[in-house]
């Protein structure tokens, strides 16, 4: 499975430079929406890799290699999680550095946590659809994904920007509820994706 993740990293290598720049800029803009968007957007990177796979019919190759369907599916989830975590890490570093200057405001770990959890949830909701229909046919799911990305970032941003009291009031929900939701969705999504991918392969 490590090989499949490495392959995805190579495949989106050129876009990764653009993506890193995008995270840096979005994280530097003093707005919770932008900070959250940088992280949640990372959940879309597996679809870019899947589009390349589909165009080259890479699944024909993996079917001949010592990979189970579970490995192939898990590889895409792992790649998505890595992208989200890398984006969150980078965003945190940028925001921590900028928080030295009063203009940029304080770094909010809760916004970051909520962003990471939202990214994982989006991945869990949309990946099964991509495995069933493929990226080409799954365009509708893609539009849904973009809507989710924007809505998540917007919601996180508006909650965060509406004041510290709100965040304090919902801190428990953010700290416990969302990670739990992300875990539950992932636990349901993974076997569903394996099953759907298997059906597509038949």
């Amino acid at each position: 499975m490590r090989a499949l993740v490495l392959k995805d990293c190579y495949v989106i290598g050129k876009q990764l430079k653009f993506f890193l720049l995008f995270i840096l800029i979005m994280s530097a803009i003093p707005s919770s929406f932008n900070n959250a968007f940088a992280v949640v957007y990372a959940a879309m990177l597996p679809y870019t890799a899947m589009a390349y796979d589909e165009r080259s019919r890479w699944d024909q190759m993996t079917a001949m290699m010592p990979y189970s369907r579970r490995d192939v599916v898990l590889g895409k989830y792992a790649f998505g999680w890595l992208c989200i975590l890398a984006a969150a890490g980078l965003s945190a570093v940028v925001q921590l550095l900028l928080s030295i200057f009063p203009y940029f405001g304080a770094f909010s770990p809760i916004v970051l946590l909520v962003s990471v959890c939202s990214g994982v949830c989006i991945l869990s909701i949309t990946l099964p659809l991509m495995f069933r229909f493929g990226v080409e046919k799954g365009r509708l799911a893609m539009f849904f994904l973009i809507f989710l990305v924007c809505a998540s970032a917007g919601t996180i941003g508006s909650i965060s920007d509406s004041g510290a009291n709100f965040l304090t009031a919902y801190r428990d929900v953010a700290l416990l509820g969302l990670p739990l939701l992300a875990v539950v969705l992932t636990l349901v999504s993974l076997p569903l994706s394996v099953w759907l991918y298997g059906r597509r392969q038949r």
Partner: protein
């Protein structure tokens, strides 16, 4: 032990189906899989590698049931070259090597680099900028660099120029010098199969018409060239297929055992046997 064993495999896709496919490739041999476009060669290979599940029947590779969980480990021993090299277009040969090093436990990086050198493949050029021949050479280099015991080649030599094709065939020949190494190769280029293979299997419209030892197959048949009257005098069951050869002449593939010894027959090529078999089937 057999390298490949397909027993009564059936797989239906609606308009096309593989019907009751039985094919055995003994270990240490090279088996050529011939057949026209859409005959089911690639489907057979996908069934063999468990990329497709048969509706019924049994498949085993290197003695392991392909439907069993243990088959995943057996894939380490099987090098596959498909009709196209399906690597993502942005990858380079060097990156493909690094990915394969993490895919196969017995990946031999030095061997892979040697193949890249031998095939004059640039390690850092993007795959999308490769010619078809270069793409196939990369796929062959990958298939040979993880110490497989079985090679499954689906049109692996198509798109290669005759000189490189010859070199690749020699590579495959070298591969089978190890006594437990086997090859299943499908190809449209029947002269390649005739040059390389010990066994020839012929698929036609999803059915295996024959699978025989190549030398026995070439001995079994002869080409009759004569007049239409002479051809008509032959036993009906002796003639596999016939065609007009101009000026009232006839050319026919006949079974040597069913014609008189006094009749002079030419030695057939594999192409003759396959073409007449298909034509004969159509005529009947």
């Amino acid at each position: 032990m057999n390298a490949i064993e397909l027993s009564h495999i059936c797989k239906s896709f609606g308009s096309f189906s593989i019907e009751d496919l039985c094919l055995t490739v003994p270990r240490g041999t090279i088996c050529g899989l011939a057949g026209e476009n859409g005959a089911g060669k690639s489907t057979t290979i996908r069934l063999l590698m468990n990329a497709l599940r048969p509706d019924s029947g049994f498949a085993a590779v290197l003695g392991v049931d392909t439907a069993s969980p243990e088959f995943l480990a057996v894939k380490e021993d099987v090098g596959v070259v498909l009709d196209e090299a399906y690597f993502p277009e942005v990858l380079s040969a060097a990156q493909v090597g690094k990915i394969m090093a993490k895919t196969y436990r017995r990946w031999d990086g030095a061997c892979y680099d040697a193949y890249l050198d031998r095939f004059a493949l640039p390690p850092n050029k993007a795959f999308k900028d490769f010619s078809r021949g270069m793409k196939m050479k990369l796929a062959i280099a990958v298939a040979l660099s993880h110490q497989p015991r079985l090679l499954i080649l689906d049109e692996a030599t198509s798109g290669l120029d005759p000189i490189v094709r010859d070199e690749v065939l020699e590579l495959f020949n070298e591969f089978t010098r190890e006594e437990d190494h086997s090859i299943l190769i499908s190809s449209h280029i029947l002269s390649d199969l005739e040059k390389l293979c010990d066994y020839i299997a012929f698929l036609h419209q999803g059915r295996l018409l024959f699978c025989e030892e190549k030398d026995a197959l070439l001995e079994k048949y002869g080409i009759f060239v004569g007049t239409a009257e002479q051809a008509d005098s032959l036993l009906r069951e002796a003639v596999v297929g016939r065609e007009a050869s101009g000026l009232g002449g006839v050319r026919a593939l006949v079974r040597r055992a069913d014609v008189p010894d006094s009749l002079t027959l030419e030695k057939p090529t594999l192409e003759d046997i396959i073409l007449f078999t298909v034509k004969g089937g159509r005529a009947s």
